[in-house]
Symmetry: C2
Subunit: 320 residues, 2 copies
């Protein structure tokens, strides 16, 4: 990618390319915005509930009149856009795990602003997420320079990645048409697996589209290629399916159960897809790859810990 | 150290010297033996209690007649010796954190052999300890080759390390003579801080002594130097002080509180001492050092998690 200076040592030294740095900064900003948006929206909901006496949870819509709720909504959109752009600059192996930091931001802000006390083990979870993220960033792979959407197309149509896509589609079909009707309402893994599998394809197509748009803004118009429009179609399909089943999962099961399972499966599958499609690990030393995987395991463990212990504290308190 | 081949990449590649490999294997064996010894001893205690009808906790000594208890005791001694020898081969930055694995071994064995169910978060703690240990091993520094106890003496008498030793002694004196009588029985940090501070000096002197003995066994007699005997004296003094205050801490407070605090302080101070004395981090890239520190933080967090959640499960069960 353009101007990505700084040769990468075979063992994944600390030298990050300028594109990776941009991607990291965008991913961190995104986590900050998304994390903060939850708190701002909640503060808005509370204020609206006080003003009208009716809570959103029991059917009130007064929050739509509350400016603070809209500020939260806009903050969230800004965060999602930053996340989208981050994928255009840095590998998914780097951007996806950093998403865990939004959970920390919202947990810490909730502690100080909403007075939702953080459990001591939750603090440990935060520390782990940060330590794991640092290890991931240090061992981040460099991306190959991409100059046209056609190159991404070639990556997406290589046999290994087509095999991955085919497997995902088959598994999703089986889950949607066979397992969902039977166990969808009783087993939390069905809906979350569908979301996560589609999510890994979403991120890949978002990355393809993001890179095309980035190249277009840089002056080499990619909108003339049908591949760009095809990726746009894939993004829409995958994101809509993913959102649909995420909502089903959240409607059926407790958020505290769905969130960590979804996060772990989604992140793992996305990284698998990215490693297959973008060959993120080629040219990296075994030490770097293993360190990166350990960093990922730590972030995933930290996220689980934070979610599980969040629930510990909520039970005795009133939920609002 | 002798025959430590394999040049280390500036960024801490996966190539480990043969001495580091020996040190790692010894440290892992040590953790296995020490972890297993707890279980064997406990099994012996139970058997003795069944045979005599009196428990060790209420004053019985029948366990001394139980062969299984002695097998456990010998296993522990073998483990401690392996740990001692490991320090002669690999840096403390590498050996000390791997000690956490003994906690995993005993937790896992307790789960299967003693039927002490491991809490789900305890499993997460185990996973973290392993992931953190892998990161530490990958980024382990290479040791300088030491050919005589005089070299270690020079390291121990460099101004920076003398300053560390002086600070430790002053702080330990203040804690022992001023804070212990006042707060020793109420604040868990007093005794554990004394243990940990002395412990960091114990490990440094153990390492000095171990290296001297290793060189002696390899044919270059170090017992002719007074420095070797001086280190022996320091080992005895430090280890005895450390053990004395560890027993006081365990007598006064709950093991589940003392163990993680002690482990975190002891490991951190030992690594600090080792970094000052042996300059473990010189020649390492910032990325490697930061990765190593993150690995350490993860191991420490995992240990805390394992200890804290162990207590969660014990409360409803009978303690034996």
């Amino acid at each position: 990618m353009g101007g990505g200076g700084g040769g990468e040592g075979a063992s994944g030294g600390p030298e990050l390319s300028t594109d990776n740095v941009k991607g990291i900064v965008l991913a961190l900003l995104s986590s900050g915005f998304i994390g903060a948006s939850f708190i701002i929206k909640k503060k808005g909901l509370r204020r609206a509930a006080v003003a009208s006496g009716v809570r959103a949870g029991v059917g009130g819509y007064s929050y739509l009149m509350e400016p603070l709720w809209w500020v939260g909504m806009i903050t969230m959109i800004v965060g999602e856009v930053a996340n989208f752009v981050a994928y255009a600059f840095a590998p998914a192996v780097l951007v996806t795990p950093l998403g865990a930091l939004s959970i920390i931001v919202s947990a810490v802000l909730a502690h100080f602003i909403l007075n939702e006390r953080l459990h001591a083990l939750g603090v440990l979870g935060c520390v782990m997420c940060i330590a794991g993220s640092v290890v991931i960033v240090i061992h981040a792979p460099q991306e190959q320079e991409i100059t046209s959407v056609r190159e991404i197309w070639n990556m997406a149509t290589q046999p290994a990645f087509l095999l991955y896509v085919a497997s995902v589609i088959v598994v999703v079909f089986v889950l949607v048409f066979y397992f969902s009707p039977l166990y969808g309402q009783s087993n939390v893994l069905i809906y979350t697996a569908i979301c996560s599998l589609m999510g890994s394809l979403s991120v890949m197509s978002v990355k393809a589209l993001g890179t095309s748009l980035k190249l277009t803004f840089e002056g080499t118009n990619q909108l003339i290629y049908p591949e760009t429009w095809f990726f746009m179609l894939v993004v829409a399909t995958c994101v809509l399916t993913q959102m649909n089943y995420l909502n089903k999962a959240l409607d059926t099961f407790n958020t505290a159960i769905v969130s960590p399972i979804y996060y772990v499966m989604f992140t793992t599958l996305t990284i698998l897809a990215s490693v297959i499609m973008f060959k993120d690990w080629s040219g990296q030393s075994p030490g770097s790859i293993i360190s990166g995987i350990c960093g990922l395991i730590v972030v995933l463990s930290g996220t689980i810990l934070l979610h599980v212990t969040k629930d510990y504290e909520r039970i005795p308190q009133s939920r609002n």
